[in-house]
């Protein structure tokens, strides 16, 4: 999952001269930020819902 999300967030696949814009920003910037938001959501979900139960008990 992280490979896909970081793959979207890192702008390796954009043509060098792509100057398209969306909401006032370069399109590649909007997509990269969206990828970062996806990483944040997935990470938060893992932390809240998938934290190992035995480590929880240690507290």
């Amino acid at each position: 999952m992280y490979a896909v999300l970081f793959g979207i967030a890192v702008p390796w696949y954009w043509p060098a001269e792509d100057a398209r814009m969306l909401v006032g920003l370069p399109l590649w910037v909007v997509v990269s930020v969206a990828g970062s938001f996806g990483i944040s959501c997935f990470t938060a979900w893992l932390l809240v819902a998938r934290w190992p139960a035995d480590e929880e008990d240690a507290a």
């Binding site: 992280y2 970081f6 967030a9 890192v10 702008p11 390796w12 954009w14 043509p15 060098a16 001269e17 792509d18 100057a19 814009m21 909401v23 006032g24 920003l25 370069p26 590649w28 910037v29 990269s32 930020v33 970062s36 938001f37 990483i39 944040s40 959501c41 990470t43 938060a44 893992l46 932390l47 809240v48 934290w51 190992p52 035995d54 480590e55 929880e56 240690a58 507290a59």
Partner: protein
């Protein structure tokens, strides 16, 4: 000469009184934290005793991770290279992702064995004196570098607050702010640092939000900024090319892993009151890059579009001060808000610096002095020594910051930031692999760490021009620490595997 806002953003008596009151309140918190001390022990002084709850942990994590670099250094870098500095949002997010790899197990071990410093974990896991010494020296050297960057940032911010000569203002900024920090930290230890982080983190979060609104109001919409930059400096708007993409990946890995290994961040894992407290705080931290680093990039890009060519080299770190001067001149409201943003900048710098200083002090006292010189020293004696160590490092590094500034050796904040990660990254196998793989042996981990460190640092002497193998690696877009870590991991894992087969 640094083109700070020295001659452009002098605050009046009211503004200086507000900032003075803010700084004095930090000393007051240090005094309160001293009163809350439960016992005169290392654990109480360096970790605040039984641990901190969700709200304090979140804000101390936030205030510690987001520093003067985030506000000053990141706006300066975005001013220099444009939207390509968006990579900072990703590496700040990657730090929280990296915690997933080791924080749950490390937290459990820390609670079971009462760890105080990161080296306590290494001692528990490997019981290898050479490894303890090497890892502690790496962490102390890395943090001293980081602390120096924060002191430099303090001086530069104060240059923008007064009408004094830049070098005089820098000197006073470092002396006064470092002095205040030392007073509250010596009085209240970790509690004082964490409690002041609550104020500093709160002011910083408010400052970032206000900053974005102000910049739009002063310089127009993002669409106008992007179009203007596309015409004047298209390379700052267009997608990064292949070498820059490699640099992105390198940054995400270097800082994502390296900053997760900050000793002061590891100590905040130890300091969490419970696993629930820790995981909730980290979950919120996962979104902070979008509320902070992204704003810094947008501010820097706006400056690149509207203040092109006004600043050069290290002085670009002062671009925020120049923008705030423009805002300050418009209205009384703008003036008041600029004062708030400067308080946020000071908070960001001081909250990071105090955490780094406390962490250095804990490692020198517990891992070096008690570990190698006087293992029989009492808790009271060690706590007393810890305060003296803080004072020693504060005085030495403050003098170095002032000397570097006056001697004309001006490194940008991002340059100072990167240097330490090449070192800290070499701790990764010992923390992130060994905590899961019981077969990992102390000898190969030590050999790997030492080899990776030497290899990474050797790039400093490799010429930037030429066709040698090392020069090619240096110019590849990846940071030297990454190459060091590859070598380090190979030695640590293969060596452990071979040792297990014998």
């Amino acid at each position: 000469m640094i083109a700070t806002a020295t001659d452009t953003l002098p605050f009046g008596p009211g503004a200086l009184a507000f900032i003075g009151l803010y700084l004095v309140s930090l000393i007051g918190i240090g005094w309160l934290a001293r009163g809350a001390r439960q016992e005169n022990t290392l654990r109480d002084h360096f970790l605040g005793g039984q641990g901190v709850g969700f709200f304090v942990l979140l804000l101390t994590l936030f205030a510690t991770q987001y520093s003067g670099n985030t506000i000053l250094g990141y706006t300066g870098k975005a001013y220099r290279i444009g939207f390509a500095w968006l990579t900072c949002v990703h590496f700040m997010t990657a730090i929280v992702v990296t915690y997933l790899l080791f924080a749950p197990k490390l937290f459990k071990l820390a609670k079971q064995h009462s760890f105080i410093t990161p080296t306590d974990y290494l001692h528990h896991r490997f019981n290898h004196r050479g490894l303890n010494l090497l890892a502690t020296l790496i962490m102390v050297a890395g943090l001293a570098n980081f602390f120096l960057a924060q002191l430099t940032a303090m001086g530069r911010v104060v240059e923008g607050l007064t009408t004094l000569h830049p070098e005089t203002a820098f000197l006073w900024g470092v002396v006064v702010l470092a002095g205040i920090m030392l007073v509250y930290e010596t009085m209240g230890g970790f509690r004082a640092v964490a409690w002041t982080d609550v104020i500093q983190g709160g002011v910083m979060a408010l400052g970032f939000a206000v900053l974005l609104v102000l910049i739009f109001a002063e310089y127009g919409t993002l669409a106008e900024t992007t179009r203007r930059l596309l015409q004047t400096a298209p390379e700052k708007v267009l997608p990064p090319k292949a070498p820059e993409v490699r640099n992105w990946i390198s940054y995400i890995f270097l800082l994502g892993v390296g900053a997760a290994l900050y000793p002061q961040a590891i100590q905040r894992i130890y300091a969490a009151k419970s696993a629930a407290t820790l995981r909730k705080s980290l979950a919120v931290m996962a979104f902070m890059p979008l509320c902070t680093a992204l704003i810094a990039v947008l501010v820097g890009v706006t400056a690149a579009a509207h203040l092109a060519g006004e600043l050069q080299g290290a002085s670009t770190d002062a671009v925020l001060g120049v923008m705030l001067r423009h805002i300050q001149e418009q209205t009384l409201f703008g003036h008041a808000v600029v004062v708030l943003i400067f308080a946020a900048v000071l908070g960001a710098i001081m909250s990071t610096a105090d955490s780094a200083l406390l962490s250095i002090s804990s490692m020198v006292t517990k891992d070096l002095y008690a570990g190698f010189v006087r293992p029989e020293a009492s808790q009271e004696a060690l706590t007393r020594l810890g305060k003296r160590v803080s004072t020693f490092f504060m005085l030495t590094l403050a003098a170095l910051a002032v000397w570097l500034n006056n001697s004309g050796t001006k490194l940008t904040l991002v340059e100072l930031l990167e240097m330490k990660f090449d070192m800290l990254l070499q701790l990764a196998p010992a923390f992130m692999i060994a905590i899961h793989w019981k077969g990992m042996r102390a000898g190969p981990v030590f050999a790997g760490m030492l080899s990776g460190l030497v290899f990474a640092l050797s790039f400093f002497w490799v010429p930037a021009q030429g066709d040698g193998c090392m020069t090619l690696l240096k110019n590849s877009g990846f940071h030297p620490g990454i190459y060091g870590l590859v070598l380090n991991t190979l030695i640590a894992t293969c060596g452990s595997w071979v040792a297990a087969k014998r």
